[in-house]
Symmetry: C2
Subunit: 203 residues, 2 copies
């Protein structure tokens, strides 16, 4: 349905010129780095500078700043989805689930907290749901697979679903980023959440 509009549109330009593709990638990388460092309030100029292109080029590839932020977020979600899918058929389901949890924290920490911050200040997470319905759904599904398998082996409590697990991961990364914690404390935070996911201790 979105594939093409044959009657009106030109023969579906899907391939960019070589330099354009390269630049697009550079901009995306730079945006990721800049927004991670300074938050989504960082200026588009700064992104352009870091990418080594002019501001005009940034806007050629991403028509608005919002679109740029969105692209970065979508990229991250896709990356997490890939990780989850890669772990889907691991032998040890419990270990796979844990590994994914850790990976999430890693990818989020210091690099991606701005995904939360972008609810305000411009883009809204909701919009991504609208414009890229697949991305969220696929992540949800991939996490669902990991979760179900881990629940099946008895490692993880059965009363939580993928939505809750994702929310917990978001929360755990937020906690993890909390200022003034040392490595030991961070490790303890993680184990609290994970112990919780294993279920309550019998009284």
């Amino acid at each position: 349905m979105e594939r093409q509009t044959p009657a009106t549109a030109a023969p579906q330009r899907t391939s960019l010129r070589a330099d354009a593709r390269r630049n697009r990638e550079r901009v995306l990388d730079a945006a990721d780095a800049v927004f991670s460092e300074f938050g989504p309030a960082a200026s588009t100029e700064e992104v352009a500078r870091r990418a080594g292109v002019s501001i005009g080029t940034v806007f050629r590839h991403f028509p608005t700043k919002e679109a740029l932020i969105e692209a970065v977020v979508v990229g991250r979600l896709a990356q997490l989805t890939t990780e989850a899918e890669r772990l889907a058929d691991a032998v040890d389901a419990d270990a796979a689930f844990l590994a994914f949890f850790h990976r999430w924290i890693e990818l989020s920490a210091t690099k991606y907290e701005f995904a939360g911050a972008l609810s305000r200040s411009g883009t809204d997470v909701q919009e991504i749901r609208d414009t890229h319905p697949d991305v969220g759904r696929k992540l949800h599904e991939a996490v669902g697979v990991l979760l179900t398998r881990a629940q099946h082996t008895g490692g993880i409590r059965r009363d939580v679903g993928a939505s809750e697990v994702i929310a917990l991961m978001v929360g755990a990364s937020r906690a993890h980023e909390h200022v003034g914690l040392d490595a030991d404390q961070r490790a303890r935070l993680l184990s609290v959440t994970i112990d919780g996911l294993r279920g309550p201790r019998p009284s």
Copy 2:
């Protein structure tokens, strides 16, 4: 050392005129509401409008927007501290700890997520530590008391400190605010974290 600078400064104006005090309060309330609703990117004009004063008045009381945000944050932290102190000598230490946890989520949810968002976009949490060292310390202490008592009665695991608990609460509120969760799911999130705080289930 920060108390005053007697030689140079005027005789320490601590009492405002009645109307001024009233306006200051109104601005603070309005700022709390506005920033909670739209995030810290909301304009100072909007705060003034909501408070029913002119923009000049806002800046008279808070010399920069940053100072205004900071004041709101400090107010919230103080409120949480008060709650914690109020619960400090409850009969049931375990229940008191839980109550505080819930209260934190309540106060944070939908009203205070911007406290996280303000790491970027202007103010930094770290600055509050510098300008209001007491606020953070007192909260930390008050939580410490609740925690220690709850650990003593055996309700809460002993390997976590106040810092970790605060980080977990921050994370839990973040998770709680995650879009698209219903009441049941939110409740389950909470119980995961709390079960985790009670300790791992014996294998």
